[in-house]
């Protein structure tokens, strides 16, 4: 029997699900190997149990937590798909701002004040703490990046179907930059998250002329002290550096490293 696969979205742009649908040249082949039983971006059916559940998006509200726990209980393998699910993505920056301040910026002071007393939305902080999927349930595999890399998705599906262990090397973005003979971003006066960021993206941003902003998260062995030293050497302030880390990696970057 073909494995039953489902896709669920939480707080996200659904871009990772689109990236799945964009695997056009192999998508029909994937459908030969698996049964997709839930996929809101593509179909309306639902199912009671799943062999593999792909979770897109970060987790904010208590009802999201319950929904996620329910999906986990009904799934054999659970995959966090994309930067939102893996580490909270850009929205997790709001974890460093008081909820009342945040709501005022977004909705204005009057709206904020009325929301603050509305029982439907109370308490505010319960709606604003952004969490990665693994902060709530056990995650078996992570598809990193914003958006996730289609080749890694296909590799994971193939591995799960044949029962082998998928391989996502914990190497810095620099490895693929050098394979593509990219000039080092630091060599043209810019700064880069590449040396401490999880590779596997084929260094697509640097190859395209930009820098790495770290959307695939910090490596387990990331040498943050050395990276801060390097960025300061290039003229960045501590506050600027904190911002760079928090852009994508807020849930990984809780405070400054020890000097």
């Amino acid at each position: 029997m073909k494995p039953k696969v489902a896709f669920f979205d939480f707080a996200s742009c659904e871009g990772c699900q689109l990236a799945v649908l964009n695997c056009e040249d192999v998508f029909l082949n994937i459908l030969e190997l698996v049964d997709i039983v839930e996929f809101r971006e593509a179909m309306s059916e639902t199912a009671p149990r799943f062999d593999v559940a792909f979770i897109e998006g970060s987790i904010h509200r208590e009802q999201d937590v319950q929904r996620l726990q329910d999906i986990r209980a009904r799934s054999t393998v659970l995959v966090a798909m994309g930067a939102c699910a893996c580490m909270g993505n850009v929205q997790a920056r709001s974890n460093f701002i008081a909820p009342a301040q945040n709501f005022q910026w977004v909705y204005g002071e009057a709206e904020r004040n009325s929301l603050q007393t509305d029982p439907e939305f109370w308490p505010l902080w319960a709606h604003t703490r952004v969490r990665a999927v693994k902060e709530i349930v056990a995650v078996d595999f992570e598809l990193r990046g914003c958006p996730m890399v289609p080749e890694e998705f296909v590799h994971l599906v193939k591995s799960l179907v044949i029962g082998s262990t998928p391989h996502f090397p914990a190497n810095a973005v620099c490895v693929e930059c050098k394979m593509d003979e990219n000039e080092c971003v630091f060599d043209h006066g810019e700064t880069c998250m590449g040396p401490i960021t999880y590779g596997g993206c084929k260094a697509v941003c640097v190859t395209g002329g930009y820098r790495c902003d770290g959307c695939r998260g910090l490596l387990p062995h990331a040498h943050r002290e050395a990276h801060r030293w390097l960025l300061k050497e290039k003229g960045l302030s501590d506050a600027h550096i904190d911002n760079r880390y928090r852009l994508f990696c807020s849930t990984q970057f809780q405070g400054r490293e020890k000097p």
Partner: protein, 361 residues
């Protein structure tokens, strides 16, 4: 394949302003790579087009060494197909396209020679050797060090000639063209070339023009380094030089004599009974490089990995291939290192420690 010099040496003189025409003429019939400007500062070996800028001055070592064209970063080694009644069918993927590497500097020439030996001796690598046999090398001498990072004279690379098919030496407004193989002679054809009966005066002129001393020098001769470094296992030098190391592996990826690789098998989605085996570059500075089944890692600390890298370049491979210095002194690893780690400084520190402060037993 004869890539040695000797009886077949023939020499010509060509005007410097005719070289560009000659290289472009070759590129009309062959796949020719030449170091060309790319990005804000660096050079890359790129295919020669009609619009390419062909010049030998203002050279800095290319980001990737030319030899890497013989072992691409990602390479399909073979295709397989399952067979119900017999062994699986395997089909090697060999790249026999003819190519010319032009503008190769002596350091990279030595690196290619060393890689020839690595890929030929013991287990021979048909993927490398097929490309190599179909590759002709036009090398160019260096009369000045490329920049402050270079130390090719200290590693015995500066005067490397052996495996060049054509060797060029720039002399003011003309270039001495020495053909060191039959294939080299075949390339140096045309009205541009004037036969040179006696190369000695030109070579003397080149030596007079060459910067002395040439680039950075080790405190002791190259031949003494393997024995000195062999004694340094618990040296504090290893820790000292990894204080800022990201373990990003850039030094491995750009090294002309790093050849470690990983292989991955993958089946075709459209037909699960067939697939490919692919090799990709790997590097000993990467944290999981020496992790084995069960999760044990033989070199979990950056200092242990750095020690391994340096000992490979100056001790292990030197002993195995009887060639002091598998580091060719091109300086690429130091140039690409955002943490400013320089193998020349590591080795110099090891030498001075060996003299003054014997390592902890």
């Amino acid at each position: 394949m004869s890539i040695k010099g000797g009886d077949s040496v023939r020499a010509f003189i060509i005007r410097k302003n005719a070289v560009s025409d000659w290289i472009k003429h070759l590129a009309r019939k062959n796949s020719v790579s030449f170091p060309q400007r790319a990005g804000h500062s660096g050079f890359r070996f790129k295919p020669v087009l009609e619009t390419s800028e062909i010049q030998f001055e203002h050279y800095r070592p290319t980001l990737a060494p030319p030899g890497k064209q013989l072992t691409p970063a990602r390479e399909v080694l073979f295709k397989y197909r399952k067979n119900a009644t017999a062994d699986p069918m395997l089909e090697s993927v060999l790249d026999s396209q003819a190519r010319v590497l032009a503008g190769v500097r002596p350091c990279d020439l030595k690196a290619i020679d060393l890689m020839d030996r690595v890929n030929r001796e013991g287990f021979s690598n048909p993927h490398y050797l097929t490309r190599r046999e179909n590759t002709v090398i036009i090398a160019h001498d260096c009369l000045q060090p490329c920049d402050a990072a270079c130390f090719c004279a200290a590693t015995g690379s500066l005067h490397w000639r052996a495996n060049a098919d054509v060797f060029l030496t720039s002399l003011d407004d003309e270039i001495l063209v020495e053909c060191l193989s039959e294939r080299g002679i075949a390339l140096a054809q045309g009205d541009h070339f004037t036969l040179c009966e006696n190369t000695e005066p030109h070579k003397k002129r080149a030596e007079a023009l060459r910067t002395q001393p040439f680039g950075r020098q080790f405190p002791v001769p190259l031949e003494q380094l393997p024995a000195i470094i062999a004694k340094q296992w618990q040296s504090r030098v290893w820790e000292k030089h990894v204080e800022h190391c990201f373990s990003c592996g850039s030094c491995n990826m750009v090294c002309p004599t790093c050849y470690c690789f990983n292989v991955v098998d993958d089946f075709n989605l459209a037909d699960g009974d067939s697939g490919t085996r692919t090799s990709t570059w790997d590097g000993c500075m990467l944290p999981n490089f020496s992790e084995v089944a069960g999760g044990h890692n033989f070199r979990p600390h950056p200092a242990a990995r750095q020690r391994h890298r340096v000992k490979r370049k100056f001790e292990y491979l030197s002993q195995r291939f009887q060639e002091p210095g598998f580091c060719i002194g091109c300086g690429r690893c130091a140039r690409q290192c955002t943490a400013q780690i320089d193998i020349f400084s590591i080795v110099s520190d090891l030498v001075s420690q060996g003299e003054n402060d014997p390592c902890v037993p």
